[in-house]
């Protein structure tokens, strides 16, 4: 037992001595949280657009002013003829051109209809859609007073209620996924590299002749990262609640239990990868490809799973993070508990047991 404790302490010391790595292991989650909280968005804010006003009368000028006044759009160029449209769009400085036809006001008064054309840069489809929507809404909202009453009560009025995230903040959606990603980085990647390093530098042999049993070695290697992971989760949670106001509506205990489960699965994955590789470099690449990338891409962290092709949706079922995310989002944002989440929890338990078994068995095998 004493040798074991000594081993664990040595591992901890190793990590603590590596100031740079430590900095990153703590700094990375915080930086990622900041980025996802403040930077990564799908909304539209002061998008640069241009106008080509063939009429230049009161009506068009009013509409243009309204477009500029809205927080979503910003009129940065006033074009003077059609030939300027293509170069402006190609240069990428504006995302849309709003074209008003000639004699706009006159046409409205005489024949009741005047035309506006929108040309949008659809390179990024959703943004293009949003810009179009905003432009459309603003243009249509221009109504001479006498008709406003008539047109507003026609048809169906939807009453939309947004549950769990009424302000539609991106950060609510990203924080759970971020936790999963950070855990993967720390647990899977660091563990696999750490064990591989022992193998590479040959100190593994030394460990094996010591009175330490194989599972002692595994646990010893893994313990520091377990501790690190838990500290990181708490940090991220605290930050996201205080700085970003992300709610935590469910049971903290349930969350910690499930998270520890997930950490185990990640650690097991790390151990397993280390058994398959000979040196650090391959371990790093393998764990990057095998754990981090699937976690980031297929788990529903950023890209919604229902939007993916069926084959990928099926594949995502194999990624532990996917199930973890369902649980965390449920607990944090929807306030649900084991009653609604029993299935994902069961699956996660199964996966963890399987991975731990695979990791330990392989480790023992490889040593022979």
């Amino acid at each position: 037992m004493q040798t074991f404790t000594g081993f664990v302490i040595k591992e901890f010391r190793h990590i603590l001595r590596d100031r740079h790595t430590l900095l990153i292991l703590f700094g990375l989650p915080i930086a990622m949280l900041m980025i996802f909280g403040y930077v990564v968005r799908n909304e539209v804010n002061e998008a640069k657009i241009a106008v080509l006003d063939h009429s230049n009368d009161v009506v068009t000028r009013t509409i243009i002013q309204k477009l500029d006044a809205s927080s979503a759009l910003s009129v940065t160029r006033h074009l003077t003829h059609t030939g300027q449209i293509e170069p402006a769009m190609r240069a990428g400085t504006i995302k849309e051109v709003v074209i008003f036809e000639k004699h706009f006001k006159r046409k409205l008064q005489r024949s009741g209809i005047a035309s506006v054309q929108l040309i949008t840069d659809a390179t990024e489809p959703n943004i293009a859609g949003l810009i179009q929507q905003y432009s459309l809404a603003i243009i249509k909202s221009w109504q001479p007073d006498d008709q406003f009453l008539q047109t507003s009560s026609i048809g169906v009025q939807p009453n939309i209620q947004m549950l769990f995230n009424p302000q539609l903040k991106s950060v609510y959606f990203f924080v759970p996924g971020l936790i999963a990603v950070i855990l993967m980085i720390i647990s899977a990647i660091m563990t696999s590299v750490s064990i591989a390093r022992e193998k590479e530098t040959g100190t593994m042999e030394v460990l094996l002749v010591s009175p330490l049993k194989p599972y002692h070695i595994i646990v010893g290697k893994v313990l520091p990262y377990l501790a690190l992971s838990i500290i990181n989760i708490i940090t991220v949670l605290v930050l996201s609640t205080w700085v970003f106001g992300v709610p935590f509506r469910g049971s903290l205990l349930f969350f910690m239990i499930v998270s520890t489960l997930f950490i185990f699965s990640a650690l097991a994955l790390g151990v397993f990868i280390s058994t398959q590789t000979e040196d650090q470099r391959t371990a790093m690449m393998a764990s990057l490809m095998g754990t981090l990338l699937p976690t980031m891409i297929l788990s529903g962290f950023v890209f919604p799973i229902p939007s993916m092709p069926v084959a990928l949706q099926w594949l995502s079922n194999l990624v532990p993070a996917k199930w973890y995310l369902i649980i965390v989002r449920g607990v944090m944002l929807m306030g649900t508990g084991i009653r609604y989440l029993w299935l994902p929890v069961l699956i996660l338990v199964g996966m963890t047991i399987g991975l731990v078994a695979a990791g330990v068995l392989n480790f023992n095998d490889r040593l022979e």
Binding site: T21, N42, V44, G92, I113, P125, A128, P144, P304, S307
Partner: protein, 361 residues
């Protein structure tokens, strides 16, 4: 040559990017596909049934449950079976044909804010369409004399079909090329240091810059190969258009890779172990990628982030790639961006070489 000797790495370098490219390209979309919803229809009229059919007919919405209790619907949301609950009030059909307003309540699970926004947008559009249909059938007399309507038509340039792949795939190519280049160049130096072979090389008559060039060039070649390969996949498999000048794109890539290698070199001269190098490297990549407009557009970012993005080489490379491929932009449009990249390369690479000198001395 050493790189080629390592079979494992070879597989990783060529096969992995391909797999990642394909998987990521297919997964990376924010389009709305299947929205399961729960229906609470208190009206049960022909017209309310028509509304539901209209929603389903778009292909974006699928009915997964119906009841007379809103709580049931919320339950389905909580268990992730449904994303939305539609509640039609009891007097719906009467309200439609009277001057009163007809209401429909739509409750959306907004955990995924971007999906929720899309659901809201689509719902609005469907309801607008539905309203128009009902009105035309009922033939309400509108005082057309006084009604002034603005007709808006819209055109989507560069991406007629609003296909997300056209946006994502160039970004993914940039991502992959950058990753490979950075990882390889960082590992190069650090590995030598760790294995002690640096000492050996220091004794040879090879000059410093020759040494570094010797490290840079294979990495550079491999990165260019990966880049070309990905482009081919993008064009033949994904049908991403190639509207601009390929040579211009390659010129940009050449300069860009130098920038990345410069960064990689600087990182490796600072790091003590391979693990550290990789970690720092990874950290940098994450930050640069998130802030470089690869997955989410720069226009959506807050002002300060957009300013920072100007210092990010990935921003320029991603933008140039998209512009050349999708818009057919030419020299005139990108010259200033290329200039910035060139400046970065001119500053970073010599800096890397000079700081390296300090380490070995």
């Amino acid at each position: 040559m050493q790189i080629f000797r390592d079979r494992g790495m070879l597989v990783v370098i060529f096969v992995m990017p391909l797999i990642e490219l394909v998987v990521l390209a297919y997964a990376a979309t924010f389009e709305l596909q299947d929205t399961p919803f729960h229906l609470v229809d208190y009206d049960q009229s022909a017209v309310s049934r028509q509304l539901v059919r209209d929603f389903e007919a778009t292909g974006y919405f699928t009915l997964v449950g119906r009841s007379f209790d809103i709580e049931e619907g919320i339950n389905q949301i909580l268990s992730n079976e449904a994303k939305m609950v539609m509640v039609i009030p009891p007097n719906f059909s009467e309200a439609l044909h009277s001057p009163q307003q007809a209401n429909v309540q739509i409750i959306i699970n907004a955990v995924n804010n971007s999906t929720a926004g899309l659901i809201k947008g689509y719902s609005y559009a469907i309801l607008r369409q539905f309203s128009r249909g009902v009105l035309m059938k009922a033939q309400r007399a509108l005082p057309t004399g006084q009604l002034q309507r603005i007709k808006v038509t819209s055109r989507n340039w560069y991406n007629q079909t609003l296909d997300y792949t056209n946006y994502m795939v160039p970004g993914i190519i940039v991502l992959l090329t950058t990753l490979i280049c950075l990882i390889l160049s960082v590992l190069n130096i650090v590995r030598e240091e760790e294995l002690g072979t640096i000492e050996q090389l220091n004794v040879t008559p090879i000059k410093r810059y020759q040494f570094i060039a010797g490290k840079l060039i294979p990495t550079w070649i491999i990165a260019m190969t990966v880049f070309s390969f990905s482009l081919a996949v993008a064009y033949f498999w994904f049908g991403v258009p190639f509207r601009g000048n390929i040579l211009l794109l390659y010129l940009t890539t050449v300069v860009y890779l130098l920038v990345i290698q410069g960064i990689g070199l600087i990182v490796s001269t600072r790091a003590n172990t391979q693990q550290q190098a990789m970690l720092i490297n990874f950290f940098l990549i994450m930050v640069f990628i998130m802030m470089g407009g690869i997955f989410t557009p720069i226009v959506s970012m807050p002002e300060w982030a957009q300013t920072v993005a100007h210092a990010n080489p990935i921003t320029y490379f991603a933008e140039i790639t998209r512009m050349i491929l999708l818009k057919g932009s030419g020299w005139v449009d990108i010259d200033w961006m290329l200039g910035v990249l060139g400046l970065m390369a001119a500053v970073l690479v010599p800096f890397a070489i000079l700081t390296y000198r300090k380490r070995t001395v």
